[in-house]
């Protein structure tokens, strides 16, 4: 077991207007697992990912990764940990407008002061694989939403993180790009044993996972393990979504 989340909770705001984003969630993730997190809008998916990835601190509870209690770490050490072990694809992309595509993608490597050769190598490989080589000199605000998302994904994966957090990574992608990205994520998950935690609304996207948990109103509602057959898994997910309500039933990618 790589990640253990124990009874965490998180409130936003105070007193009357307080929102209980996460009420009481416990969770275990194995090394090399591809975990999907699903739930309606406002269920607390992003909040949960943020806390596991140390971007936010829970009000209560513990988050233990590789035996280390991250909630006990100082801000600075958390940042170091984050930088060295984790990669992120944010729901809002979080690309730097001042930098162009290439600079954005190589940012994690540059921050770790990797040598230039390695940077170029990895960059070219990544861009080729995700089929976005032609974007490399573009400015961020010249990109479409989908293009931004895939650039954000490239940045998240370029320094081969041990744990990848993906918040709605295919939300703005067409089905072809989504498939390319998901295949790649599956590949690194299999080959390099990267642990992936992915939040999504989309049943098709979730069907790539090895396990999906459903949360609603800040608690874990249920959980489905991939039976080994993606179509069947997809069916199960759709059914669960219907039970919970609020999911996307009619997604373009369903036609796949």
């Amino acid at each position: 077991m790589q990640i253990a989340v124990k009874n965490i909770s998180k409130d936003f705001g105070k007193n009357k207007t307080a929102v209980h984003a996460i009420k009481d969630i416990s969770l275990e993730v194995e090394h090399g697992e591809f975990l999907g997190i699903m739930g309606p809008s406002g269920a607390g998916k992003t909040t949960l990912l943020n806390m596991i990835s140390t971007n936010d601190r829970p009000d209560h509870g513990q988050i233990i990764i590789d035996g280390l209690d991250l909630t006990q770490l100082h801000d600075r050490d958390q940042a170091k940990y984050r930088r060295n072990k984790m990669g992120f694809i944010y729901q809002s992309f979080e690309l730097l407008d001042s930098l162009n595509v290439k600079e954005n993608v190589i940012l994690p490597l540059a921050l770790n002061r990797s040598n230039k050769k390695l940077i170029e190598e990895r960059f070219n490989y990544m861009m080729q694989l995700l089929n976005i080589e032609n974007l490399s000199a573009r400015a961020i605000d010249e990109l479409s939403l989908g293009q931004r998302q895939i650039v954000a994904a490239a940045r998240a994966m370029i320094n081969r993180p041990e744990i990848l957090f993906a918040d709605e990574p295919t939300g703005s992608l067409d089905s072809k790009s989504a498939t390319i990205l998901l295949n790649y994520m599956q590949m690194i998950n299999k080959k390099e044993q990267t642990t992936i935690l992915m939040a999504t609304h989309d049943a098709f996207t979730a069907s790539y996972c090895s396990r999906v948990i459903f949360i609603k109103d800040g608690v874990v509602f249920s959980e489905i393990v991939n039976p080994g057959n993606r179509d069947k898994f997809f069916e199960q997910i759709i059914n669960m979504q219907r039970t919970i309500g609020g999911g996307d039933y009619f997604n373009v990618s369903q036609n796949y």
């Binding site: 730097l96 930098l99 190589i106 940077i119």
Partner: protein
């Protein structure tokens, strides 16, 4: 209707609270200016000022109303300029309003009232500052002027009316300006295109800027030469104008040309730029500097101006002070003809004598080639022995070269205070005494420059004893505790002793044949060769006035300097605080992808340091270069460095505060 109005009120409230820090700084700076303006204005017709400083008559009133007017003018320019920042900051917000279907005139009205509200708040605080600090400032003024008097708080109806008028008019104009600015934002919606580095334009422009700056320095050197040589000519004025233009344009070109280029070069060196957070910070810094070039330039020039003004004020003050000191080293001085009368009078009014001195002098004829006048000079000269000179208080020797017991010292008028050519005098012939080969220079007359005519010579004791004299005299000097207490009546009586005697010099072909004829009565006809020996010299009220004038001067200069500093500092701080939305978002993003907070803090610190450092470095270089030439290098006085140091420290303090606030603002966004 009610709903829409309350919505608009909410909108105004929100945008005010969004830029809270920036508004606080702006409002504080404005209310400071308003407070000072009010204090200056009300100082003029404060009854206690009139009572305490009655002999300054209307002078104080005139000065304080001129100063307050000047102050108000600059403060207004500052407000108009800085107020624009806020409108610019709200650009996106306004555009969004319009997109959401809000009518244009409503948006314009919103910005009008927003400005008016901010202005009103600033005025309320400013007027409270006026009421709170008027007494304090008045006491400070009296303290600096060394007047023992109680300063009463006072705000006349006239002044109150003027203040309200200024408030109404300035607020209306500022609000209108902002409304127009908003209108223009709404009319041309397109976003600014990204500034491109155009090397082919920037590098030559920067190089030309450097040439201009250098030529300004060369011209400064010429200016000081010309100022000494040419007395009446338009040339120095033209030169000053040229230098100012050169400095102003040159600095801008250098900023424009090199600031981005340097950052660009750094960015291109991938081994530097691609390591660590530099990959982001260079671009970020470049963007920020691009936006701020004209403000950096503006601040640089104003700082240089401030430093130059401080320097001139200092030199002006020095000049007056030095002049005064060399004219009146003792509170009271007399010669052998008047000493008895004066002693009697001092006895009568029981003046407390702190120290009394007495020195014998000899007056003889000399001739020499004067280098400063470039003429051959013959004149009477007063001689004093070395040991007599040394027995006088130290302050008498302040402006003189150091000599030992074998050296000669010639004390003469210092024609130009800033750059006297302090060269030794050579080959001075003295009637019936050995020629003086070399004499050092000085300008502090031990008993005051107007005690006697012409120069004075300090000579070795032996030389003094052996030399003959045309006239011998004795000088007396007194210092008192709390003044000489001479009454007006006594002074009237002493008036007839003002001139002790007159000396008529009969110049012949040689010094030996020439002689001095002493006359007790004032000769009818004034001839060139008649010299007067003063009977006595009194500081009296001059000392008091000098102190008061100096204090007043200091008060005004300090006030203006501090105000200027506040203005410059707040402009820079506001520029740093008012980041574009996406700029502050980027810092947040950096944190999200695992950049340590300390590194982000480093970026903020670097941005802050650059913004504050560049102007002050350029400004002090410019000011320093000017003074260095002014003084020809060998006389940069400690005090000037002190003044500059003080300025730089205060400025640096602003930088520090600005950094703290800036970081706080960024950090607040982090926890969202």
């Amino acid at each position: 209707m009610g709903v829409t109005i309350s919505m608009y009120r909410k909108i105004i409230k929100r945008s005010l609270s969004n830029m809270r820090d920036s508004y606080v700084i702006y409002i504080l700076a404005c209310s400071f200016a308003i407070g000072i303006f009010g204090i200056l204005l009300s100082m003029g017709d404060n009854p206690s000022v009139h009572l305490a400083l009655h002999w300054w008559d209307n002078f104080i009133y005139d000065i304080s109303s001129i100063m307050s007017g000047l102050f108000a003018f600059f403060a207004f320019i500052y407000m108009a300029y800085v107020d624009g920042f806020f409108i610019k900051q709200q650009r996106n917000e306004f555009l969004t309003f319009e997109k959401l279907g809000m009518q244009r005139w409503i948006i314009v009205t919103l910005s009008f009232f927003q400005t008016a509200i901010v202005q009103a708040v600033a005025w309320i605080i400013g007027l409270s500052l006026l009421l709170i600090f008027q007494k304090f400032m008045g006491m400070l003024l009296f303290f600096l002027m060394q007047v023992r008097f109680n300063f009463e708080m006072y705000l006349g109806w006239d002044n109150l009316y003027i203040l309200l008028e200024v408030f109404a008019v300035s607020t209306l104009i500022l609000s209108l300006i902002n409304a127009i600015k908003t209108m223009r934002i709404l009319q041309k919606k397109k976003t600014k295109p990204l500034v491109k580095t155009r090397w082919w334009l920037r590098i030559p422009a920067g190089a030309f800027g450097i040439i201009l700056l250098l030529s300004a320095q060369i011209c400064t050197a010429y200016l000081f030469k010309d100022m000494r040589m040419i007395s009446y000519s338009g040339k120095p004025l033209a030169e000053i104008f040229y230098i100012m233009m050169d400095d102003i344009v040159g600095t801008y070109l250098v900023y424009y040309g090199f600031l981005p280029s340097i950052l660009d070069i750094m960015e291109r060196i991938h081994s530097v730029a691609y390591s660590g957070v530099n990959i982001f910070s260079f671009k970020y810094m470049k963007e920020r500097l691009f936006q701020n070039i004209s403000i950096l330039w503006f601040v640089t020039e104003l700082s240089a101006l401030a430093l130059a003004l401080l320097t001139f004020c200092y030199f002006g003050y020095q000049a007056v002070h030095q002049n005064y000191n060399s004219a009146y080293p003792f509170e009271l001085a007399a010669n052998k003809d008047t000493v008895k009368v004066i002693r009697d009078e001092l006895h009568k009014n029981k003046a407390k004598v702190k120290g009394s001195y007495k020195t014998e002098v000899k007056i003889n004829l000399v001739s020499y080639y004067s280098k400063s006048n470039q003429t051959y000079t013959r004149q009477p000269m007063t001689f004093m022995s070395y040991s007599a000179y040394k027995s006088l208080p130290k302050r008498m020797r302040k402006g003189n070269s150091k000599i030992n017991s074998h050296q000669f010292l010639k004390i003469d008028y210092n024609s130009s205070l800033m750059y006297s050519n302090h060269t030794n005098e050579h080959d001075i012939e003295v009637k019936n005494a050995p020629m003086i080969q070399t004499a050092k220079w000085g300008y502090s007359f031990p008993y005051g420059s107007s005690m006697h005519f012409g120069p004075m010579m300090i000579v070795p004791d032996k030389y003094y004893q052996k030399m003959p004299a045309e006239v011998t005299d004795t000088f007396y000097g007194w210092d008192f505790k709390k003044g000489d207490r001479l009454s007006r009546k006594q002074l009237q009586k002493l008036n007839s002793y003002r001139d002790a005697y007159y000396m008529k010099v009969n110049f012949k072909s040689s010094l030996e044949k020439s002689n001095i004829e002493v006359m007790k009565k004032e000769p009818n006809k004034y001839e060139a060769a008649i010299y007067t020996q003063s009977g006595f010299l009194r500081q009296g009220s001059i000392k008091k006035r000098l102190k008061q004038g100096g204090g007043f001067y200091l008060f005004i200069v300090a006030l203006f300097s501090v105000a200027l500093l506040v203005a410059l500092g707040s402009v820079l701080t506001l520029r740093i605080l008012l980041r574009d939305d996406y700029q502050s978002r980027q810092l947040r993003t950096l944190q999200k992808i695992g950049v340590e907070e300390s590194e982000i803090k480093g970026i903020i610190r670097r941005e802050n340091t650059l913004t504050f450092l560049i102007p002050i470095v350029f400004a002090s270089l410019q000011a320093y270069a000017a003074i260095a030439m002014f003084d020809f290098g060998h006389h940069i006085s400690k005090n000037i460095i002190l003044i500059y140091g003080g300025y730089v420290i205060l400025y640096g303090l602003f930088g520090l505060i600005s950094f703290k606030i800036s970081w706080r603002g960024v950090k607040q966004k982090f926890s969202l």
